[in-house]
Amino acid sequence: MESLKVSNLCKTYIIEKRQNNVLRNVNLEIEQGEMVAVMGPSGSGKTTLLYTVSGMDNATAGKVDFFGREMTGLTANEISDMRLEQMGFVFQQMYMLKNLSIYDNIIMPAYQTPAGKTKKGRAAVNERAKILMQKLGISEVADNDINEVSGGQLQRACICRSLINEPKIIFADEPTGALNKQNSIEVMEELNRINLDGTSILLVTHDMKVAARCERVLYIEDGDIREDITLGKWQKDQDMRARERTLNDWLIKLGW
C-alpha cells in the first residue's frame, strides 16, 4: 500500500511580484515501509517538496494522498492532528524548546495527543520514551538541558521525539547536515533500524553516503523529479561501497 502518493504537485512563490515555480507537476509514490531519499542541486525544490507533502506548507496545485486520505482538502487543524499522530519530523537543525529538558522535549508531542492526556496514556508514553532513548543511547542525558549535550545526542533526541507517537512516516530534512562523520553514521543507522521496523522515511539530503542507505533515491531538478534509482533495502552487513558507487555513477550521469 502507498503511504504517500503525490500527483501533479505544484508550488509557486511570489517574490516581489515575480512568480517563482519551485515545484512543477511533481508525481511521486512512496510505499509503506519504504525509505526514499531526495537529492538535487541547491534551490531545486527538495525542501519545498518535503514541506509540501508533509502538510507543513500548502501546495499551489496538485494532490497529496496520505495512506489513501487526500491531504489537500483537509483543514489546518486536521493536518496538524495528522502531523502530530501519524508523522514524525527530523530537521537539519536540532529544534527543541529551550526551557525543557531533553526528556520533556521528547514526550511533549505525545502528551498533546488525546491518548497522552490520560494518566494511563502518559504512563505508556513515559515507558515508550525510555525504551526509545535507551535504543538511541541517550538515556543518560534525559534530564539535561538542550545546550548541555552534543549535536549527535541532540539529533538522536529529535529522532526520539519524531518517533514518540509511533508515526507511519518520518520526514527528514538533511538529518545529518549539522553532524560530524561519526554522529552522521550513528543517526543514519538509527533511521535505517526504524525503517526496518516498518516506518516509511522520506529524507532530503546532499550527502551521497546518507542517500546510499536509502531504498530508492529521487533526483529533483528545477522543481521536477527528473529520475529515480532503486538501490534496494539496506541490510546491516551490506557492502556500502557498492551502493555508493552505483549511486555515484547515477548522479554523475545526471550532471551532479
Binding site: M56, D81, Y95, N99, Y103, M108
Partner: protein, 793 residues
C-alpha cells in the same frame, strides 16, 4: 549607516515603538502641565490673599455685646497687632433663603455651610467680580459665589428671597463673585452680598442675628490666637488664620499632584518597558553585536546605535507631549483662575520646557545604564548566544513527565514563568502596581461608607435618620441649649402628629477655654454634649465616658498636645464660671480635626452660648433605609433638612467619596487600557522571541489554538502571581498611605477592605482585560510559518 539602521529598527517594531512613544508623550503632558499648575497655584494663592485683604487672623463674635471690650483689648492689650478692622454680617439659617423659579419658592442648598449676609464695600476680606474688579450693587441686587450659584443652578438675573425675622426681600442675582474668605465650601462659611441699603434694612429687624467679624493684621498669628483664647470673651465663635485659607486653596493643587503621580507611574512603566525592549533587542542581536565588536567597533559605537534610536523616540514623544501640554496647562490655569484672582493668568511655558528636557535626560540616562550589558558581550560569547554549556545550579522550572494531569499548554506556561522569572518581572511589577492602584480608591470609598466613619463624626450609624436644622423661619439660629431642647421637643410632637414615633438626640457644641494648672491650651476647644437617650454609640479608646457632673472626655490629640492624661483635672470656663473637671476617657474622631471634648448631659450649660449644634439623631422603629426615610420626611416636613449618614459624612469630607465613586469606573477603564496596551506589547515581543519555537511546535503537530493557549495561560500565571503579590502590597499601602491620609482629618481609622471587591471583582476586570489583550496579541501566532523555525536560537 546609523540612519539606515535607525530607520530599519523604527519600522521593524512599529507596535513597540508606538506604545513607547505614547507613554512618553502622555507622561510629558501630565508632568509638564501639573508641575506648571502647582507653581502657578502656589504663587497665585499668596497674591489672591493679599489682593483680597485677607487678614492674618479673623475671628467672629456672636452679637455686639463684646464688641467694645474686644476693641479695647485689640487697642491696648493685644501684642503685635499692626492694624485691625471689623465688619458686620447677619447669620442666616436655611429657612431664611429661598430660590424663586417660575413664581415658586424652592429650597436653597447651603451644603452644610453657614451662610452670612454682608454688605458690599468691605475693608477686609473683599469680594470682586469674575474679572477681579470691584463692583457695586444697587438696591434689590445680590451677589453670590460661584459654588453657591452652581449648587443652586442660579444664573445672573434669577431671583432669590431673603428673610430676616419679619423682613423679607426679593433680590435679583446680578453678580457672580470671587470671595477669598468665604468663597470655598471647605471653609464651611458662605456669604451673600447685598447693597448697603438692603443690608441696613435687614439689620434693623429685631430678629437679625448680628455677627461681628474682626480682621487682624499681625506677624505672630499663632501667638495672637493663643492670647485671644486667654481672654474671657464668651461670644467668640470661630477663629481662622490666613494659613488655614492658604491650605484650603492648596486643595486646588490636589488634581495636579495626582496627575504628577500618574505621570511618574507612566514614566516608571515606560522605563520598565524600555529596559525590557532594550534587553530583548540586544539578546536578539547578540550575534550582530559580537560581529560588530569582532571587526573593531568600540563599545560606545555599538551603544550609539541603540541610544540614537531611543533618543529619536523619546525626543519625538516629549516634543509632542510638550506641545500638547501647552493647552492642558492653559486649561488647568484657567480652572484655577475660576476660583482665584491671579496676577498673571498666563501659564509659564518655560516650566513645561524644562520638565520635557528633564524627561529626555532621565530616559536617556536610564537607556545608557541599561546598555551596560553591551560591554560584557565579547565576539566569542556572542557566537555562543551567551551560553557556555555549563550549569552549576539545578535546572529551574518543573518537569512535564511528573505532571499526570496538567495539559501541555498549561505546563509550558507555568514552566516558562518559573524558568525565566526575571523576564516576566516587568509585567508582574506593572500588574502589581495596577492592582494596588485600583485598591486605593476602592478602600477609600469603602472606608468612607463604613459605620466607623459615621461614628468618627459623632453620629450613631444605627439612628433612623438625621436632621440638620430645626429652627422655624421666624426663629434665628438657636443660641442656647434650652432653645435647642424646646425645638427638639416641638419637632418630636410634629412628627408624632404625622405618625412618626421618634426620639431626638441633639448635640450642641461649645468652644470652651480649657486649662490645667494655669496653662491654657493653644485654642478654645470644641466640646460636644449629647442631649438625649442615645449616647452609647460613642466609642472610647481608653478610660470611659464622662458620667458625673465633674467629668469630661478629651480626644487623644488634645491629650497628646497638652501632655495631659486620664485622671488629670482640668479647668473649663463655662459661662462666667470656671469648673474643675476630671478627664475620664479618651477617644479619636474627626470633630474639629480630632481636637474635641465630650461632656455629660448633666453638666449645666444654660449660661454658655452654643457655637452651633451638630446633626440631630432621630431614633425610631422603621423598616426603611436612612435614605428612604429622609426622602419621606422631606415630603412631610419640607421645612427641615433631613439626611442620611452617608450624605453627612460626604458633606464633611468635601464630597470626596462621591467624586471617587464617579472616578472609579473611568479609572478602572484607563488602568485596564494601559495594562492591556502593555500586555499586548510584551506578548508581541514574546512571540517575536519565540517565533522559532512556535514554528517548531507547529511542525510537530501543535494546533494554533494549543500554542495560543500556552501563551495565554502563561500570562494568566503571571497575573495570578502578581495578584498574590499585590495583596500584601495593598495592605501596606493601606497602612502607610491611606491611614495617614485619613489621619489628617484628626483620627486613625481602620481601612475597610471588602475582599470580594478588592481581591475579586476589580482585579478580575483587569485580568479579563489582560487576557483579552493577550488573546488579541497571540493572533500573531497564526501568521508564523513553519519555515520560521530557523529563528530558533
Amino acid at each position: 549607516m546609523l540612519y539606515r539602521i535607525l530607520k530599519k529598527d523604527l519600522l521593524r517594531r512599529k507596535g513597540v515603538n508606538v506604545i513607547l512613544f505614547l507613554f512618553i508623550t502622555i507622561a510629558t503632558i501630565f508632568l509638564a502641565s501639573s508641575v506648571n499648575n502647582i507653581l502657578v497655584v502656589s504663587s497665585a494663592i499668596s497674591y489672591y490673599m493679599e489682593f483680597s485683604g485677607v487678614p492674618d487672623v479673623n475671628f467672629i463674635l456672636k452679637g455686639d455685646t463684646e464688641k467694645e471690650k474686644t476693641e479695647e483689648w485689640l487697642d491696648d492689650g493685644a501684642k503685635d497687632v499692626k492694624e485691625y478692622g471689623d465688619s458686620s454680617m447677619i447669620a442666616l439659617n436655611d429657612q431664611n433663603m429661598k430660590i424663586i423659579k417660575n413664581g415658586k419658592k424652592k429650597e436653597y442648598a447651603a451644603a452644610g455651610t453657614s451662610v452670612y449676609l454682608a454688605a458690599a464695600g468691605m475693608e477686609y476680606c473683599k469680594v470682586f467680580d469674575l474679572d477681579g474688579k470691584p463692583f457695586s450693587l444697587k438696591k434689590g441686587e445680590a451677589a453670590l459665589t460661584r459654588d453657591a450659584m452652581e449648587r443652586n443652578h442660579l444664573e445672573s438675573g434669577d431671583k432669590i428671597s431673603i428673610s430676616v425675622g419679619k423682613t423679607e426681600r426679593k433680590l435679583t442675582v446680578s453678580e457672580q463673585i470671587k470671595d477669598a474668605a468665604f468663597g470655598s465650601d471647605m471653609v464651611g462659611m458662605n456669604r451673600i452680598i447685598v447693597s448697603e441699603e438692603d443690608y441696613e434694612t435687614f439689620l434693623k429687624d429685631e430678629n437679625a442675628e448680628n455677627i461681628r467679624m474682626f480682621c487682624v493684621m499681625t506677624d505672630k498669628a499663632a501667638e495672637f490666637v493663643r492670647n485671644l483664647n486667654n481672654q474671657d470673651f464668651t461670644t467668640v465663635l470661630s477663629t481662622v488664620s490666613k494659613s488655614m485659607y492658604k491650605m484650603i486653596y492648596s486643595f486646588d493643587m490636589i488634581m495636579a499632584a495626582l496627575l504628577i503621580l500618574v505621570g511618574i507611574c507612566l514614566i516608571l512603566i515606560a522605563l520598565l518597558v524600555l529596559r525590557f525592549t532594550l534587553v530583548f533587542t540586544m539578546e536578539e542581536e547578540y550575534r550582530e553585536i559580537g560581529i560588530m565588536k569582532a571587526v573593531g567597533f568600540r563599545n560606545f559605537a555599538v551603544k550609539k546605535v541603540y541610544l540614537l534610536k531611543y533618543l529619536v523616540l523619546v525626543t519625538a514623544g516629549t516634543v509632542v507631549g510638550f506641545a500638547a501640554s501647552i493647552p492642558v496647562s492653559r486649561a488647568m490655569v484657567a480652572s484655577v483662575s475660576r476660583n482665584m484672582i491671579m496676577e498673571d493668568s498666563g501659564s509659564n511655558l518655560w516650566v513645561n520646557f524644562i520638565c520635557s528636557g528633564c524627561i529626555i535626560l532621565l530616559v536617556m540616562l536610564f537607556c545608557y545604564t541599561s546598555t551596560g550589558k553591551l560591554d560584557k558581550i565579547s565576539a566569542i560569547s556572542a557566537i555562543r548566544s551567551g551560553k557556555t554549556g555549563e550549569r552549576f545550579k539545578r535546572r529551574a522550572g518543573i518537569r512535564l513527565n511528573r505532571r499526570e494531569k496538567m495539559s501541555v499548554p498549561m505546563f509550558l506556561g507555568l514552566n516558562d514563568m518559573l524558568t525565566h522569572m526575571r523576564r516576566y518581572l516587568v509585567l508582574m511589577i506593572t500588574f502589581c502596581i495596577s492592582f494596588v492602584l485600583i485598591t486605593i480608591p476602592l478602600n477609600t470609598i469603602n472606608t468612607m461608607r463604613s459605620r466607623e466613619m459615621v461614628v468618627k463624626f459623632a453620629l450613631d450609624p444605627d439612628s433612623a435618620v438625621y436632621v440638620r436644622r430645626i429652627e422655624k423661619a421666624s426663629e434665628g439660629n438657636y443660641r442656647y441649649k434650652d432653645d435647642l431642647l424646646a425645638g427638639m421637643q416641638r419637632v418630636e410632637q410634629e412628627m408624632k402628629a404625622k405618625g412618626y414615633d421618634a426620639e431626638l438626640t441633639g448635640i450642641p457644641f461649645y468652644f470652651l477655654k480649657i486649662s490645667k494648672d494655669g496653662v491654657v491650651s493653644d485654642q478654645k476647644l470644641l466640646v460636644l454634649q449629647n442631649l438625649g437617650q442615645n449616647n452609647d454609640y460613642l466609642h472610647y479608646d481608653k478610660g470611659e465616658a464622662p458620667r458625673l457632673e465633674n467629668e469630661i472626655a478629651l480626644s487623644e490629640t488634645v491629650l497628646k498636645q497638652n501632655k495631659w492624661n486620664i485622671g488629670d483635672w482640668v479647668d473649663v470656663n463655662i459661662g462666667s464660671k470656671e469648673k474643675r473637671l476630671l478627664i475620664t476617657g479618651t477617644y479619636s474622631d474627626y470633630m474639629q480635626m480630632g481636637q474635641s471634648g465630650r461632656m455629660n448631659p448633666v453638666i449645666d450649660m444654660k449660661e454658655e452660648m452654643m457655637a452651633d449644634y451638630w446633626n440631630i439623631l432621630v431614633d425610631m422603629k422603621t423598616d426603611k433605609t436612612q435614605k428612604e426615610l429622609a426622602a419621606d420626611l422631606k415630603k412631610d416636613f419640607p421645612q427641615y433638612e433631613w439626611d442620611d449618614a452617608q450624605s453627612l459624612v460626604d458633606q464633611n469630607v468635601g464630597g470626596i467619596q462621591d467624586s471617587l465613586a464617579k472616578l472609579l469606573l473611568p479609572m478602572t477603564g484607563l488602568l485596564c487600557a494601559i495594562i492591556m496596551l502593555i500586555t499586548a506589547l510584551m506578548e508581541k515581543l514574546f512571540i517575536v522571541r519565540e517565533k522559532g519555537e512556535i514554528a517548531m511546535m507547529k511542525s510537530v503537530g501543535f494546533r494554533n489554538r494549543s500554542i495560543r493557549r500556552w501563551q495565554i495561560l502563561r500570562m494568566v500565571w503571571v497575573v495570578l502571581v502578581s495578584m498574590i503579590a499585590a495583596v500584601p502590597l495593598s495592605l501596606l499601602s493601606n497602612r502607610f498611605m491611606l491611614r495617614p491620609i485619613f489621619a489628617i482629618m484628626g483620627a486613625d481609622v481602620e481601612i475597610q477592605v471588602v475582599p470580594w471587591q478588592v481581591y475579586g471583582v476589580y482585579p478580575g476586570i483587569l485580568m479579563v482585560g489582560i487576557i483579552a489583550a493577550t488573546i488579541f496579541a497571540t493572533g500573531k501566532v497564526k501568521q508564523i510559518h513553519i519555515r520560521e523555525m530557523n529563528n530558533i536560537e
